[in-house]
C-alpha cells in the first residue's frame, strides 16, 4: 500500500515546511501523526554529545505515531526537522482515535507494550551513541 493510496482519503490536512524548520521538538507534547508526501525529514535525538541524527524519513514514511499510541506519556521522543522543503500530510486523529478505542483491550495492551519498548530502544540508542 503506497503513501498516495492511503493518504488521499485519510488525511485531515496537508502542510509545508521550509528547510531546517522544526516540525516538533523532543520533549514537547503532541499526538499528531504525520506522513511525508514530498521531500524528507531527519529524526534527531538529544544526547550528552549534542543532537544525533538517528534516521532519515522519506516519502511514505510515518512519524509522530508514538505520541498518539502512548496515551499516558505524550512527550515526543525525538525532534523532527525538515531536510530541504517538505510537504507533509497529517492524519485524521479523531477517526484514528475512535478506531483504536474500539480495538480489544488485549490489542491495545500489546500495542502499548510495543510502543514502550520502541521508546526505550530509541532512548538506549541515544545513550550508546553518546558514549
Amino acid at each position: 500500500m503506497g503513501a498516495s493510496d492511503v493518504c488521499f482519503s485519510y488525511l485531515a490536512t496537508e502542510v509545508d515546511y521550509a528547510d531546517q524548520a522544526v516540525i516538533y521538538q523532543e520533549g514537547s507534547e503532541g499526538d499528531w501523526i504525520y506522513v511525508v508526501l514530498r521531500g524528507q525529514v531527519k529524526m534527531k535525538k538529544a544526547t550528552a554529545r549534542g543532537p544525533v541524527v538517528i534516521a532519515t524519513l522519506k516519502e511514505g514514511d510515518v512519524f509522530g505515531e508514538l505520541g498518539f499510541f502512548d496515551k499516558v506519556n505524550r512527550a515526543r521522543t525525538e525532534t523532527i526537522v525538515a531536510d530541504g522543503p517538505v510537504h507533509l500530510g497529517i492524519f485524521d486523529i479523531p477517526s484514528l482515535d475512535r478506531e483504536i478505542d474500539s480495538a480489544s483491550p488485549r490489542f491495545r495492551i500489546l500495542l502499548r507494550t510495543i510502543v514502550y519498548r520502541l521508546k526505550e530502544t530509541i532512548n538506549k540508542i541515544g545513550s550508546v551513541v553518546a558514549e
Binding site: 500500500m1 493510496d5 492511503v6 482519503s9 485519510y10 501523526i33 524528507q40 541524527v53 534516521a55 532519515t56 524519513l57 522519506k58 514514511d61 510515518v62 505515531e65 508514538l66 499510541f69 492524519f91 484514528l96 475512535r98 478506531e99 483504536i100 478505542d101 474500539s102 480495538a103 480489544s104 483491550p105 488485549r106 490489542f107 495492551i109 500489546l110 500495542l111 507494550t113 510495543i114 510502543v115 519498548r117 520502541l118 530502544t121 530509541i122 538506549k124 540508542i125 550508546v128 551513541v129 558514549e131
Partner: protein, 256 residues
C-alpha cells in the same frame, strides 16, 4: 457509542514457581504473556554469560515478538520467574486477525511502527555488539594481506537461513567481497521475514562479474541502516565456507 469487542478467546492463566523457565531463548514459541502477579526476568543466556535485559512486573507483557513474526522466529531471549508468579497467556492468532481487519490507514500507521520497532532493535543490538568488540582484543592475526583485500562489485544475490525450512529466500545486492567476507545491500523489509541478528548463518548465492556462480555459507557480523538510503540496510557477513567451485572462482577473481 462504540461497541467493545467481547469475543476474545478465553485466557489461559498459568502459575510458575520462582526459578521456573517460562520462555527459552532459541526455542520456537507463539505465546504472548501478561504478568498478572509476581515478577519475571528477561535475559540473554549464551554458554558463558547471562545478561539480564529487564525485569517485568504486574500488567507488563512479554513474548510480543510472536505477534510481529507470527511465531516463525525463535525466541530472542529467555524469561524466568524471579518469584512465584501468575501469567495470562494469549495466542497471537486472534490479535493478528483483529489487526488484519483494521482500516487500511490504521494498518499503514501500525505497520510502520512495527517495522521501526524491528529496525531499532537491530540497530541497538548491532551498536551493543560493536561496543563489545571494541573491548575484546583481536586475536586473528594470521590472515594474509591477499585474503583481506576487498573488491567492489555490484551483483544480485539470493540468501536464506542455513536451514532451508526456516525462511523465505530474499534478494540483496552484494556491494563488496573478499575471501573472508562480503557486504550486502538489502531492503529493510527483509528483517521482517527472518532474523538477521549477528551470529545467524545464511546460505548465499550470487555471481561474479564474469557470470560465474558463487555459493557460500556465511555468518552475520553486522547490520546497519543506510543513512543516505532510508528503506535500505547494509549487512556485513563473514564467509564461513565456500561451496563447490566457489573457492577457486573467488580466489581467481580476487587476484586479478
Amino acid at each position: 457509542m462504540v461497541e467493545t469487542k467481547d469475543k476474545e478467546p478465553p485466557s489461559i492463566l498459568l502459575n510458575y514457581k520462582k526459578g521456573d523457565l517460562i520462555v527459552k531463548e532459541g526455542d520456537y514459541g507463539v505465546s504472548i504473556y501478561k504478568v498478572v502477579s509476581g515478577r519475571v526476568k528477561v535475559s540473554k543466556e549464551s554458554p558463558d554469560i547471562e545478561i539480564t535485559l529487564s525485569v517485568l512486573g504486574q500488567g507488563e507483557v512479554f513474548g510480543e515478538m510472536a505477534f510481529l513474526n507470527k511465531g516463525k522466529e525463535v525466541r530472542s531471549a529467555s524469561v524466568r520467574a524471579l518469584e512465584d508468579c501468575a501469567l495470562e497467556v494469549w495466542h497471537p492468532a486472534s490479535l493478528l486477525e483483529e489487526y488484519g481487519a483494521m482500516s487500511p490507514v490504521m494498518k499503514y500507521v501500525i505497520g510502520h511502527t512495527l517495522n521501526r520497532f524491528l529496525r531499532m532493535n537491530v540497530l541497538y543490538a548491532n551498536l551493543l555488539a560493536k561496543k563489545k568488540q571494541e573491548k575484546v582484543k583481536v586475536s586473528h592475526k594470521a590472515r594474509s594481506d591477499r585474503k583481506q583485500r576487498r573488491k567492489t562489485i555490484e551483483r544480485q544475490c539470493v540468501y536464506r537461513p542455513m536451514d532451508p525450512s526456516a525462511g523465505a529466500k530474499l534478494q540483496g545486492r552484494v556491494t563488496d567481497i573478499s575471501m573472508i567476507g562480503m557486504g550486502i545491500d538489502v531492503s529493510s523489509k527483509n528483517i521482517g521475514f527472518f532474523s538477521h541478528d549477528p551470529g545467524k548463518e545464511f546460505h548465499v548465492v550470487t555471481s561474479l562479474p564474469s557470470g560465474l556462480g558463487l555459493e557460500m555459507a556465511c555468518q552475520m557480523k553486522s547490520i546497519r541502516n543506510k543513512e543516505d538510503m532510508p528503506g535500505r540496510m547494509r549487512l556485513g557477513l563473514e564467509i564461513t565456507s565456500l561451496l563447490g567451485e566457489s573457492a577457486k572462482r573467488l580466489g581467481f577473481f580476487m587476484t586479478t
